[in-house]
């Protein structure tokens, strides 16, 4: 019941649509009423169309307020910093996923690349005892290479992104298992050989109780960077144009294949960096697949208001989406709900977000 209430922000908006149509239907001859309520709906649709961050922000705010009132331990500096630490991997992968989804693609291999990069860093820098910075750099470069491979499959072999990355999900995942010899490297060994790999797990405490990991802080820096890149540079604009109408983009001279290749490459690079973050997060190097990394990064993008059809959305929305999931996680567990209800709530949010997107996209003059 609680979960339903917290989604008020979303449902009340689509609820307006229903009542407006209901009134119009019931009124029959009352044209004035019909036009008036239609105008309200139209205005709302236009508002949401021009402000893609409005609905995810409202949901996050309402969820935050609700859990702060309902659970007395929710609004504490410790809890907020815990939520930030928990979303740092999904948040970072969410940036990669946003880039790909903006081009109307999807990347199912983000979790596998992240894992492959992190075990490679461990193998080179710890097991083989290479220079720890070289090991780190090669691990990140491997992420980039995996991304380039995805991009090659999509642009050269013309494979649909879903299929291409479904394949590489298995390929990179299996390679990660093989290269790591399926062995975990313990925290003490990592610390002794390559302490730099654990760097993102360090904690910065700007004031008492609020402890933010370097990793979570770094994730926020990445968001700032990609907000700039997507909204203020030609590359960002070309990503939107490529996802929106590829044929139009080609006709105005954008080399859409290059844009796509670069997007998958940058996504891979971000996954490589996430591999480093992952080591800091779990404090060891493990060959166990990162559970749900793919689906949760897609969930964050979708809840954040980015359209799966490409060309619409904001990377900041993905951060908000990841935080919404984090807030539900933390809030519901504090209220004593079983984890299954959190899964349920996130599922409902995804459905509402996609339905809302479909409706907003129908905005026309």
């Amino acid at each position: 019941m609680q979960d339903r209430e917290t989604e008020q922000g979303e449902t009340s908006q689509s609820g307006d649509l229903l009542t407006a149509e209901g009134i119009a239907g019931a009124a029959g001859g009352e044209v004035a009423v019909f036009e008036q309520s239609q105008a309200v709906v139209k205005r709302l649709q236009r508002f949401l169309h021009s402000r893609p961050l409005a609905s995810p922000s409202a949901v996050l705010l309402l969820a935050f307020i609700f859990f702060s009132i309902a659970g007395d331990r929710f609004l504490t500096a410790t809890n907020v910093s815990t939520i930030l630490a928990q979303v740092m991997i999904i948040g970072t992968l969410g940036i990669a996923q946003t880039l790909v989804i903006l081009t109307a693609g999807i990347d199912l291999s983000v979790g596998a690349i992240t894992l492959f990069s992190s075990v490679t860093m461990g193998k080179l820098a710890v097991t083989w005892g290479w220079n720890p910075w070289l090991g780190l750099l090669l691990g990140i470069a491997l992420g980039l290479a995996c991304g380039v491979f995805n991009g090659w499959l999509v642009t050269r072999l013309k494979l649909p992104p879903f299929i291409a990355t479904l394949g590489t999900l298995s390929v990179f995942g299996a390679l990660a298992q093989w290269f790591s010899d399926n062995a975990t490297i313990r925290n003490s060994d990592v610390d002794a050989e390559a302490g730099n790999l654990l760097w993102f797990g360090n904690i910065w405490e700007p004031f008492s109780g609020f402890r933010i990991t370097y990793g979570a802080f770094f994730m926020l820096v990445l968001y700032a960077l990609f907000m700039y890149v997507l909204q203020r540079t030609a590359w960002g604009e070309h990503i939107y144009a490529t996802g929106d109408e590829p044929e139009s983009a080609r006709l105005v001279g954008i080399r859409t294949d290059r844009v796509l290749l670069s997007v998958y490459a940058v996504a891979g690079l971000l996954c490589g960096i996430a591999g480093w973050l992952w080591i800091g997060r779990i404090g060891a190097i493990s060959p166990i697949p990162i559970v749900n990394a793919n689906l949760e990064s897609i969930t964050a993008v979708v809840i954040g208001g980015t359209s799966l059809f490409g060309g619409r959305g904001r990377v900041l929305g993905t951060l908000i989406g990841a935080l919404i999931v984090g807030v539900f996680d933390s809030g519901l567990s504090q209220l004593g709900f079983e984890p299954l209800w959190r899964v349920f709530a996130v599922g409902v949010l995804v459905l509402v977000a996609v339905a809302l997107d479909q409706w907003i996209r129908r905005v026309a003059a």
Binding site: W235, Y240, D244, V363
Partner: protein, 268 residues
């Protein structure tokens, strides 16, 4: 006033041939666009007029023949090549990105960056300049009923979108604007505005190639009409000397074309 015979065509095609396997789309076709005119290109479906236009705008490379721009032979490897030489095309699909705003669409693919280090190192777009130029261009063409230059193109009407596409071409073209069926998707009122717009662009000195199936629109705005039939130019007529039914009859082969180039110098 100079006569047309002494004018160098802005864009000229001589003996253009384009084949696709066994199919010959155009054969030994000529084409001539004079300075400051609106030249309509009409022809039945399959007559090869779109292949002709695609050769002229760089989308196809002709198998034979040559293209001259201001009397100089040119070879276009792609539409971008032609665009770099000052030939802009308004595609029937408009080639706009619906989710981006008006200013973004006008500069899409040739964005301006801020001067100095902000632009060269940080790749920062110069949005304010692009918006100012876009606004000026639209108001010059009397299109500023569009309230907000930051409005997404998908929120505009069909005619307004056409306006954005035309304004973009007019802003960047230095030689020729090619318009492919600009009124095909529009209602009566919006078509009227677009026809006015075409004249405005012409009056600012840019010659226009207008491809259209709509005979009333062609006869309303064209200075000369290039009639294409069976892969080649069969006649060039003037709207003053020929009626709409004459043009249609020549186009479909029901009527003999006037003697070679009879209409070409009309109005000169």
């Amino acid at each position: 006033m100079t006569t047309t015979t002494t004018q160098t065509p802005v864009l000229e095609g001589r003996g253009l041939t384009k084949r696709f396997g066994n199919v010959t789309a155009i054969e030994d076709a000529d084409f001539e666009l004079l300075p400051g005119e609106i030249l309509a290109v009409i022809g039945d479906n399959g007559a090869g007029k779109s292949s002709l236009i695609k050769c002229l705008c760089g989308a196809y490379a002709p198998d034979e023949g040559e293209i001259l721009l201001d009397g100089e032979p040119v070879v276009f490897k792609s539409p971008l090549d032609a665009r770099d030489r000052g030939i802009e095309t308004v595609y029937q699909s408009l080639a706009v990105s619906p989710g981006l705003d008006i200013a973004q669409n006008m500069y899409l693919g040739r964005e301006l960056r801020k001067p100095g280090i902000l632009g060269s190192v940080f790749r920062l777009l110069d949005r304010s300049t692009m918006r100012a130029h876009a606004r000026k261009q639209l108001s010059d063409l009397g299109l500023l009923t569009i309230q907000d230059i930051g409005q997404a193109v998908e929120t505009l009407s069909g005619g307004q979108r056409q306006g954005v596409a035309v304004a973009r071409s007019a802003a960047f073209a230095t030689k020729v604007v090619i318009m492919d069926e600009p009124t095909a998707a529009l209602g009566v009122k919006e078509s009227r505005r677009v026809l006015d717009l075409i004249r405005d662009v012409r009056d600012r000195g840019l010659p226009i190639i207008l491809i259209s199936h709509n005979m009333p629109h062609v006869f309303e705005v064209a200075d000369r009409i290039h009639i294409h039939r069976l892969g080649r130019r069969i006649a060039v007529v003037s709207p003053e000397s020929h009626t709409m039914s004459d043009a249609v009859a020549i186009m479909t082969g029901a009527k003999e074309p006037p003697p070679e180039h009879a209409g070409a110098h009309a109005g000169g």
